[in-house]
Structure formats: structure tokens, C-alpha cells
């Protein structure tokens, strides 16, 4: 079979697959009636109903056995990590280390502010209690801070994926290429949005990077400029804010052999930094998933190759209109601060839950407790199955702690939710259930009669009135 033919069969719609299969059913009697039914338009909804029921069952079964399936997938009968799961385990351990480090930072941050949170009104005390409690911190981390701190790459990937799915499709070798449907749009978009911009940004980025090395690392504004200028994201931000970029060097003066921003340019520098630093944070958040995508894009001479190159620039990532969570950052402290400031406000030298939240805080706390219970329940289920992981397996420590159990439950839940079966796969299930070597199984005769009956009923319905009369 040629590759093209194989691809054609893979991509053909399920109705054609049904027709193709029907034509292979041999025999007379019931077999002939089934064949005729499947080939008729009225037979299609009849079989699709049966396929729908089978895929529904498969989905329910997958949910029921998801936890043991997960452990079977990654561990053998002795509880030893399977060879193919090494990367997965390493990823989990990396994640745990990040969590431990973030939690340490979180404790310090909470310690620094907890005493400044008064106990009145009562909800202040309740929120403070959660913040100080070990499990409270863990739940807060798992439900909110992890995402805000950019630790949830899968989530970031889920935000990027739809855009990539719209633009690219996999070719026969699994490399991503621009979809035919999107070529015109992409060409236009590249022309309109990027045109000669790439060269301009790259040119400015080079000169800014050279300038950055000369800027004084004073721990303040100049250090921020030094850091920002080292990123091409800042060059793009400056170009967007200010057409005339020739005078950037002139905004600095020499002091002690290093450059510092001139007093009259401080305001402009702050404006640039406000924008650039936010965009640098965005680029940092999407870096991992974006680079993985770029690596999968085919490096050809045409539009796909051009787009691949464009998507490898960090400043381009910030212009993709990705809807990242507000306040997200790769720095845990920044993420914690962003979260804290959405909940608390400064008052009388301390911190109190914002008045604007006052009427919603009770509900919010209830929801938080519910989430905590759910996480605990999910973790308990994982803990039971995790016992089969062999002693001495390094990853056992992940499944042995509440954080790891909660995350495993989340990973499995995402897998269950992502369960999908195409109609074509459902048809394969249907064929396997009802046919044996092309012949109808005797146990399926009643199901086939039901199929024919349904199709006959549909035919009768099709004969109803011309509605335009």
C-alpha cells in the first residue's frame, strides 16, 4: 500500500469507512440485510448510535481503571519503574524539588507578613490560618501558585496548543507543517505584522545587548535595564513604543567607568521596563513549551521554515496573544506577591483582605475547603495504589508525599478528561465486537436486527412531507 493511499484511508470520513467495511461483509440472509443497511444513508445514524454507546462504555471503563492503569503503565509487576517511564519519573522528581524549594520560599514570605494580618474581621484570621498551615500552603500552591509561578508547563502547553493546532498539522513523518487552510492567512499575517520588523528588532537587540554589558550593575534601576537589554524582547518593546531608537545610547551617562541612565531619562526607562519586564516574564513562562514546539516544526525552505524561524524568537512569543494567567511569572516571589495583592490590601500599616472581597470571602473559603477535601480524597486513592511501587525506586518519594499524590491524581484526571475516541476508532471497536473474520457473531444477531429496524424506521421518517409546500 502506498503511503498516500494509507494516508487517504486514515483521513477518510467514517461514512466511507462504514461503506468500505459493509462491502466486505459476505453472505446472504442477515448478512446481506446488514450490508444493505450499512450502505444506505438511513443505516449511518443507526450504526453511529451503536458506535456512540460503545465509545461511551470505553470512556467509562477508562475512568474506572485510570489509577491502576497509570501505575501499570509506569511500573512492572514487581513495582519497578519501566524503562520507558524514566523521563516521566525524572520529571516528577524535578517537580517535587521545585515544590520543596518554592514551599521554603513561601514559608519565609508568609512568616514575613502573617503578623501584619489582623484577626478582625474573622475572615482575615481564617485566611491567615490557611496561609500559616502546612497543608493550607500546599493546597494554595497546588491550586493557584503553581500555575502563577509558571511551574505547570502542561497548563502553559494547553494554552499554546490550540494556536499551534490551528496553524500546523503533522506530516507523514510527524513533523509539523503549516496547514493548507491557513497558508494564505499566515502569509498575510507575516507580511502585515512582521514584514521588515524582524530585521529591525534583531538589529536593535544586538546593540542593546552590547550596551547592557556596559551598564552598571547597581542593584537598582540600572541593573534592571542591564537585565532587560540583554533580551530581544526589550528591543521589540522599545520599537513598539518609540519609533526613533537611535538615541538609546545617549540616554546613558558614564560614571565610574560604567554607564548609568541619565536623570532626565529615568521616567522613560521606567515606562520601557514596565512593558519589557512583563513581556520577559511572559517569554520565560512559555519558553519550554515553545521551544519544544519549534523543535517539532519542519525546517523547510518554504512558509513552514520561515514560520519556524520566526517562532524561535522570544519577542515573537509575546505577540501571540496567549492568554496566560494574570500575574504569572517564573519567579515564585513575584507570583506569590501577585496573588497576595489580589487578595489583600494595605491598611493601617498591616494587610487585610480587600473590602471588595468581603461578601465573597465566605464562599471562597468554602470552595477552598472543598478543593482541599477533593485533593485529599484523590491523594488517598493514589496513596493506596502507590504502595505497589518498589522500595528503593527513587520516584517512590514523590508518590509518598501529599503533594506528589495530589499531582498524580491531577495527571490521571487530565488523562481521563482527555480521553477521546474518534468515530473511526469506535467503528473498529464495533466491528471487533460484532464480527469474527468478516462474519456476524451469533451473539450479535439481535444487535444487527435492531440496527436494521432502526434504519427502516428512519427511512419511513424520511418520506414525510415537503416542508416548502
Amino acid at each position: 500500500m502506498t503511503l498516500l493511499l494509507a494516508l487517504a484511508i486514515l483521513t477518510q470520513d467514517v461514512n466511507s469507512k462504514i461503506d468500505e467495511f459493509a462491502k466486505t461483509i459476505p453472505g446472504d440472509g442477515l448478512a446481506a440485510r446488514v450490508r444493505e443497511t450499512l450502505l444506505s444513508p438511513a443505516g449511518k445514524p443507526a450504526i453511529k448510535e451503536q458506535i456512540g454507546a460503545l465509545t461511551g462504555e470505553a470512556r467509562a471503563n477508562a475512568a474506572k481503571t485510570a489509577v491502576p492503569d497509570y501505575f501499570k503503565e509506569h511500573f512492572d509487576d514487581e513495582g519497578r519503574l519501566r524503562e520507558g517511564s524514566k523521563a516521566h519519573a525524572e520529571e516528577l522528581l524535578r517537580e517535587l524539588a521545585t515544590f520543596e524549594s518554592d514551599r521554603k520560599e513561601m514559608r519565609a514570605l508568609v512568616d514575613a507578613i502573617a503578623d501584619k494580618i489582623p484577626d478582625e474581621p474573622a475572615y482575615n484570621a481564617q485566611v491567615k490560618k490557611i496561609l500559616k498551615d502546612e497543608n493550607g500552603q500546599l493546597i494554595l500552591y497546588a491550586t493557584q501558585l503553581r500555575v502563577l509561578a509558571g511551574r505547570d508547563e502542561a497548563r502553559i502547553e494547553r494554552i499554546i496548543k490550540p494556536l499551534m493546532d490551528l496553524i500546523f498539522e503533522a506530516d507523514a513523518d510527524g513533523r509539523l507543517v503549516v496547514r493548507e487552510a491557513m497558508k494564505e492567512k499566515i502569509e498575510q499575517s507575516l507580511e502585515e505584522r512582521y514584514g521588515d520588523k524582524v530585521d529591525r528588532v534583531e538589529k536593535l537587540a544586538k546593540s542593546l545587548a552590547a550596551l547592557a554589558e556596559k551598564i552598571k550593575d547597581d542593584g537598582g534601576l540600572n541593573s534592571r535595564l542591564r537585565k532587560a537589554f540583554a533580551s530581544s524582547v526589550t528591543a521589540a518593546a522599545i520599537l513598539e513604543m518609540k519609533e526613533d531608537v537611535d538615541g538609546v545610547d545617549d540616554a546613558f551617562v558614564e560614571r565610574d567607568g560604567k554607564l548609568v541612565i541619565g536623570d532626565e531619562h529615568v521616567e522613560t526607562a521606567e515606562k520601557i521596563l514596565a512593558k519589557a519586564e512583563e513581556q520577559i516574564r511572559t517569554a520565560g513562562l512559555v519558553r519550554g513549551p515553545m521551544l519544544r514546539y519549534v523543535a517539532r516544526i519542519k525546517d523547510d525552505e518554504g512558509l513552514t521554515g520561515r514560520l519556524r524561524k520566526l517562532l524561535s524568537y522570544e519577542w515573537v512569543w509575546t505577540r501571540l496573544d496567549l492568554k496566560l494567567p494574570a500575574g504569572a511569572s517564573t519567579s515564585f516571589k513575584e507570583a506569590f506577591d501577585a496573588w497576595f495583592r489580589t487578595v489583600f490590601e494595605e491598611k493601617d500599616g498591616g494587610w487585610t483582605v480587600k473590602e471588595a472581597h468581603a461578601d465573597k470571602i465566605e464562599d471562597g473559603l468554602k470552595k477552598f475547603r472543598r478543593e482541599a477535601q477533593n485533593i485529599k480524597r484523590g491523594a488517598d486513592v493514589i496513596a493506596r495504589d502507590a504502595k505497589r511501587v518498589a522500595e528503593g525506586e527513587p520516584v517512590r518519594v514523590f508518590y509518598g508525599c501529599l503533594y506528589g499524590q495530589a499531582r498524580t491524581a491531577e495527571i490521571i484526571k487530565a488523562k481521563v478528561e482527555g480521553f477521546s475516541m474518534t468515530d473511526a476508532q469506535g467503528l473498529d471497536l464495533w466491528i471487533a465486537k460484532h464480527f469474527d473474520n468478516g462474519a456476524i457473531r451469533s451473539s450479535s444477531e439481535a444487535a444487527m436486527e435492531a440496527l436494521i429496524r432502526k434504519a427502516d424506521e428512519i427511512k419511513k421518517q424520511l418520506e414525510k412531507d415537503d416542508i416548502g409546500k
Binding site: 470520513d13 444513508p41 438511513a42 449511518k44 445514524p45 443507526a46 453511529k48 448510535e49 456512540g52 454507546a53 461511551g56 494547553r158 494554552i159 496548543k161 490550540p162 494556536l163 499551534m164 493546532d165 490551528l166 498539522e169 496547514r179 493548507e180 487552510a181 491557513m182 494564505e184 492567512k185 502569509e187 498575510q188 507575516l190 507580511e191 502585515e192 496567549l322 492568554k323 477521546s420 474518534t422 468515530d423 432502526k454 424506521e457 428512519i458 421518517q461 424520511l462 414525510k464 412531507d465 415537503d466 416542508i467 416548502g468
Partner: protein, 466 residues
């Protein structure tokens, strides 16, 4: 060939009979130049090139030209674009986009897929929006699971030519449709789950359990079961599959299809507007509509074949020049209509007149085109364009603004310092009359050829298909 002749023999005799009955004299046959410009615009969405005009005027074989245009790649591009506008509109909405749908439609027209198969695929589309085209149609009008009202209204308008929207809040005041009819139609989508995956990503799936469950619409007092307007009731949980069958098997579907195809070639449907079939809005020539409907069914919804039948008719090839403005003559197609170019036709025809596509390359030309379209369509970006393709802005206003833009993107054509005849052939697809030639010669003593070009581009003759 015999079948084609039989088909030809029908449109014109039916119309002859009607004209005779009404005492209406048909217009004369269009000139070759008039026909060529019209048919090229109608089948490929752009005016003919200067060379095409010269070649056709030299050897005016109309049937051969029609076949050539139907076989050209631009036919599918134009049809895909036209149907995408009608089915989707312009503005991306609810995690869907027009482009994948338009591309899919183009492919359908390229392979000349039967129209009923295309519609069935649209109605039963499922999967993630990141992939297929038809999902973008469903997703566009199905903003959330359990809210299928917009989709039901769109389906009945687009594929059956019936406006059911009135029946959404109360029984239709003028037609037979009740509020219950509307919600029973909407109930065919009750099993459809619009799964929100993440920002920008959705998946359309059918859920058997949901399909079997009771559905009580938010704005209707009681729960309803799916029931098609014909009274047909689904027998399975594959509700959309059955709806697609009920829609496409009903004669009204063929009627709406025939009328939809007729409309762009005459500037008005036999039932007009094309999405408003009903007792209060009867067809202007009932016999013609029923014959075309029979023909659509006989041809198994072969789009090209039905179009060929329409454009090879004498009626299509009549001139638009008429002595009186009697609207009745237009209603019975006794002359061709003068129709505003669609935004796409305008943009493409300008690019072609300027030979800009060749001059600046595909992406740049596409970018200029997109800019013009944005400008031309502007207020209509988010409107439902089920029944109208033409824009309604002041043509003169638009043309003036566009020619200002054009000064910045002169094509190679003007750089070649063309003659008056070449400018007329390029812009108006005809040679200048003796009077026009003399007027141009006089003008060119003080003015420039670019000004002549811009003037013709600003003329009503360019802005309309006639």
C-alpha cells in the same frame, strides 16, 4: 450533450411563457464583452485579464468559456469564499475561525462534491477546532453546550431558506411555524457537547447520554423532543446524523439550493430574499423554481452541472441594458440585473486591473487585498450574511477612498504606459467607443493616463457587474 440540451430547453421556454403571459419583452442578448465580464466575475470572482478579453472578442465561444471558467482553480476559490461568507461571515467568534471552513469549502467545490454531502458534513461535523473545517461552522453558531437556538436558526435559513427566528419567541406571525417547531428543530443538537478545552480550543462531540436526556430550552416553557419541520422524528441517539438526513432529503432543501445557486447569477432569487421562503413571499416564477428543484435532484446536487445549466441559459445571457425601469421585468428575469461587486470581487478586480498580483507577489497582494476587504466590509464584519453577498456602502465613497490607497501601490501595468484601449480592456473589459477614445485623447493633452485609469476605476461601470 442531449441532457444538456434538454436542460437548456427548460429555463428559457418557462421564462418565454411567463414573459408572454405578462406581456413583457425580454432584453436583447448581451454583447460578447458584456457576457465575458459578467460570467468571469460570476464564476471566478474577478474581471477577465486584458489578454482574455482580446482572445474572447476574437473568438467568442460562450459555452467553451463557461466550461473553462468552471474548470479553473479560481472557481473553487471564489465559491469557497462566497459560501464561507454566507455560512460563517467574516468575524472570528467563539473559538472558531473562518479560514479553515473556507478552505474546506474550497476543497468541496474543487472536487465538485455534491451539495447535499457538503451540507451533511457541515451538520454532523465533530472534533477539535484545531483540525477540520466544518467544525468551525457548528462551533460558530453553538456558543455553549445546551444553547442550540442560533444554530437551529442558521441551519433553517442557510439550508432550507426558512427564517425561523421569529418562532423563537412566539409562533411565527405570518407563516405556519410554531414556537414548538423551532425548539423541536433546535433539540436535534441537544446531544452535542461543545467541550471547552482551553483558551481558544474547543471540541465538538456527540454524547449518547446527553442525546437521550430530557431537554428543556432556557426560553421555552416546556421540555421538547427533537422533531424535524416535516414531522420526521429521530429513531436513534445520533441526532445530528438524522437531522442531516431529514434536511437533505426534503424537497425544500433542493428548492433552497436551486434558488441559492440562481441568486448570484441574476442578482435576485426566484424567491427573494433567498432565506425567506414562505406563503407571504412566493416565488416570482414558481414553475421555474420547481423545474430547477427537479433538476437539482436529478443531477444529484452536482453544483457545477446546475451552474452550467443556469449560465448557459438565454436568460442569463441577456443584456442588462434596458429601456424602462419596470421592476416586474426584473422579477421575471427579462433582463440581466446590475449588481454591485462583492468586496472580494472589487478587491480582486482592482488588483487584476493593476496587474498587482504579478507585480508584488502572492503574500503582498494578499495583504493588500485583506486590507481592502477589511475596509470594504467594515461594518458588516460581524453580521449574518446568509442571504446577501453584496455590500451596501456608498460605492462612490468607497471607491474614492480606495483609489487614494491605490496611489501607494501602483502596479506594473501603469508603469508600462498603456494605451487608452489597453486601459479600457484592463479595467472595463471592453474596448472604448469612438466617443470615449476621442474624449480620452483630448484629456490626455493636459492630463495623464494614470488619471484616466483612476477615473475608470472610479466609474459605476467598474463597480458593478452588469
Amino acid at each position: 450533450m442531449i441532457i444538456l440540451l434538454l436542460a437548456l430547453a427548460q429555463i428559457d421556454p418557462i421564462l418565454d411563457e411567463v414573459w408572454k403571459e405578462k406581456g413583457v419583452a425580454p432584453a436583447a442578448r448581451s454583447s460578447d464583452a458584456e457576457f465575458l465580464r459578467r460570467v468571469t466575475l460570476d464564476l471566478t470572482g474577478v474581471i477577465p485579464t486584458e489578454d482574455e478579453v482580446r482572445a474572447f472578442l476574437e473568438k467568442p465561444d460562450r459555452a467553451k468559456k463557461i466550461d473553462g471558467l468552471l474548470a479553473s482553480p479560481r472557481y473553487a476559490i471564489f465559491m469557497g469564499e462566497t459560501f464561507a461568507t454566507s455560512l460563517y461571515g467574516y468575524q472570528a467568534a467563539f473559538e472558531t475561525m473562518r479560514e479553515p471552513l473556507e478552505y474546506w469549502l474550497r476543497q468541496q467545490f474543487e472536487k465538485n462534491a455534491p451539495y447535499d454531502a457538503t451540507v451533511r458534513a457541515l451538520l454532523t461535523a465533530s472534533g477539535p477546532n484545531g483540525g477540520g473545517g466544518p467544525v468551525h461552522f457548528i462551533g460558530r453558531f453553538y456558543p455553549q453546550t445546551g444553547a442550540p437556538e442560533d444554530l437551529a436558526a442558521k441551519v433553517s435559513r442557510s439550508f432550507l431558506g426558512i427564517r425561523l427566528n421569529c418562532a423563537r419567541c412566539h409562533d411565527h406571525p405570518f407563516e405556519k411555524w410554531s414556537q414548538e417547531d423551532f425548539y423541536q428543530l433546535a433539540a436535534f443538537f441537544k446531544g452535542t457537547d461543545r467541550k471547552y478545552i482551553t483558551q481558544g480550543a474547543i471540541e465538538i462531540v456527540d454524547d449518547v447520554e446527553r442525546a437521550k436526556a430530557r431537554w428543556k430550552p432556557r426560553d421555552y416553557e416546556k421540555a421538547v423532543k427533537p422533531r424535524f419541520l416535516s414531522g420526521a422524528e429521530p429513531q436513534t441517539a445520533a441526532l445530528r446524523e438524522e437531522l442531516a438526513l431529514f434536511v437533505a432529503a426534503n424537497r425544500q432543501f433542493a428548492r433552497a439550493f436551486a434558488n441559492r445557486l440562481w441568486y448570484p447569477f441574476f442578482g435576485r432569487g426566484i424567491v427573494h430574499p433567498i432565506d425567506n421562503f414562505g406563503k407571504k413571499n412566493p416565488p416570482s416564477v414558481p414553475k421555474l423554481l420547481e423545474w430547477l428543484t427537479d433538476e437539482a435532484i436529478r443531477l444529484k446536487f452536482d453544483v457545477k452541472a446546475l451552474i452550467r445549466t443556469i449560465v448557459t441559459s438565454r436568460a442569463y445571457q441577456l443584456t442588462s441594458v434596458r429601456e424602462s425601469a419596470d421592476p416586474e421585468r426584473g422579477r421575471v428575469f427579462a433582463h440581466q440585473a446590475v449588481r454591485a461587486l462583492t468586496p472580494e470581487q472589487t478587491a480582486d478586480s482592482m488588483l487584476r486591473a493593476l496587474q498587482l498580483e504579478e507585480a508584488v507577489g502572492g503574500a503582498k497582494a494578499g495583504s493588500i487585498r485583506a486590507k481592502f476587504l477589511q475596509f470594504l466590509v467594515r461594518n458588516m464584519l460581524d453580521q449574518d450574511l446568509t442571504s446577501v453577498f453584496e455590500y451596501r456602502e456608498s460605492v462612490q465613497d468607497i471607491m474614492t477612498k480606495m483609489t487614494i490607497e491605490l496611489r501607494e501601490v501602483r502596479g506594473k501595468f501603469l508603469a508600462e504606459k498603456p494605451s487608452v484601449e489597453r486601459v479600457y480592456l484592463a479595467v472595463l473589459s471592453r474596448r472604448p467607443s469612438a466617443g470615449e477614445r476621442a474624449a480620452c485623447d483630448k484629456f490626455l493633452k493636459r492630463g495623464t493616463m494614470e488619471e484616466v485609469f483612476i477615473t475608470l476605476l472610479n466609474s459605476h461601470e467598474f463597480a458593478f457587474n452588469h
